[in-house]
């Protein structure tokens, strides 16, 4: 029976997204202009290409953010069911968090949190 609910949730998601595109195509005025698609550079004409070799520091920060963001995503369902599951879930959550805190301390000690 709950398959139907799952299908219903997926349906509303798809309808919601496609609907937004369809309505805007129907109503929003659409007048493409080459200048309108040019990159915005504070009022100036963009100069040079953005396809340059970036500093590796950005990659590290992105990686750290990704790790802790995904961690939070895991914590949400865990927090919802923690009452039914009881102590076991608490311990597992604690272990999961400790591993990640250990990763944070490692990054901190190595000095990755400070921009070089």
């Amino acid at each position: 029976m709950d398959i139907f609910y799952l299908f219903f949730i997926a349906l509303t998601g798809v309808v919601y997204v496609l609907g937004a595109f369809f309505v805007s195509r129907l109503i929003a005025p659409n007048y493409p202009d080459p200048v309108k698609n040019s990159p915005y550079e504070c009022g100036e004409i963009a100069h040079g290409s953005a396809w340059t070799r970036f500093n590796v520091g950005y990659y590290i920060f992105a990686l750290l953010f990704l790790i802790f963001d995904v961690e939070v995503v895991f914590l949400f369902p865990w927090a919802v069911v923690i009452k039914e599951v009881g102590i076991v879930a608490l311990v597992e959550g604690g272990v999961f968090l400790c591993i990640l805190v250990f990763g944070l301390v490692f990054a901190w000690r190595k000095g990755y949190l400070v921009w070089q």
Binding site: P29, D33, K36, Y40, G43
Partner: protein, 204 residues
């Protein structure tokens, strides 16, 4: 319930109280509005996002309008976006010089389609105190981009800016919402000066 203080505004057939019908002879707008367009215009008019664009003294009065006493977020203008991508209108607050004109024109063209311009202050309307004897001030923004509402004053009071914004809202409520053609750009002879940032650092 008169929406705008426009003399010839004639209240149309009775619509629902918060979606008024309006009949006003407009050069480029529809004459009698349908329901959907009234709804769209009403939604757009009450959520206009200005582009943060202030060059001189009028910018301070625009900030005062955005601040706590003359709060313009009561009318839906609060979110002042820094990029033209998310802005609905430009409040040209301050003097526009020839060097800035091509930049303003580029910003206007980079804005998505339903866009409006409010020329705030005497400098933007006609060059203001710099009309005579100034070699570098454009005498009026309408030589660069099409302007919807002109607001005199040097600088205009925040209440005057609020009234001009309400006049702009009334104007939006009368326009044809869906197939609104972009207004033609006036021809402006000064082309954009190309950047050479390398030159800035070669000398040092």
């Amino acid at each position: 319930m008169a929406i705008s203080s426009h003399p010839e505004a004639v209240p149309g057939p009775v619509g629902s109280e918060n979606l008024p019908q309006h009949r006003l002879p407009m050069p480029d707008g529809g004459f009698l509005l349908t329901k959907l367009e009234a709804l769209l215009n009403w939604a757009r008019a009450n959520s206009l996002w200005p582009l943060t664009f202030g060059t001189s003294c009028c910018a301070i009065e625009m900030m005062s309008t955005g601040a706590s006493r003359h709060d313009w977020s009561r009318f839906g203008f609060e979110v002042a976006r820094a990029t033209p991508r998310q802005a609905d209108m430009i409040v040209v607050a301050g003097t526009i010089c020839f060097k800035m004109a091509s930049r303003l024109r580029l910003l206007y063209r980079q804005m998505p389609e339903p866009k409006w311009v409010l020329a705030m202050g005497a400098c933007a309307v006609s060059g203001g105190p710099f009309y005579y004897d100034s070699y570098s001030v454009v005498k009026g923004v309408d030589k660069i981009i099409p302007v919807d509402v002109y607001l005199p004053g040097c600088p205009p009071r925040p209440e005057a800016l609020l009234h001009a914004l309400m006049v702009l809202q009334d104007k939006i409520k009368l326009e044809a919402a869906t197939r609104r053609a972009p207004r033609p750009l006036p021809d402006f002879p000064f082309e954009h000066q190309v950047l050479e940032p390398e030159k800035d650092f070669s000398a040092r």
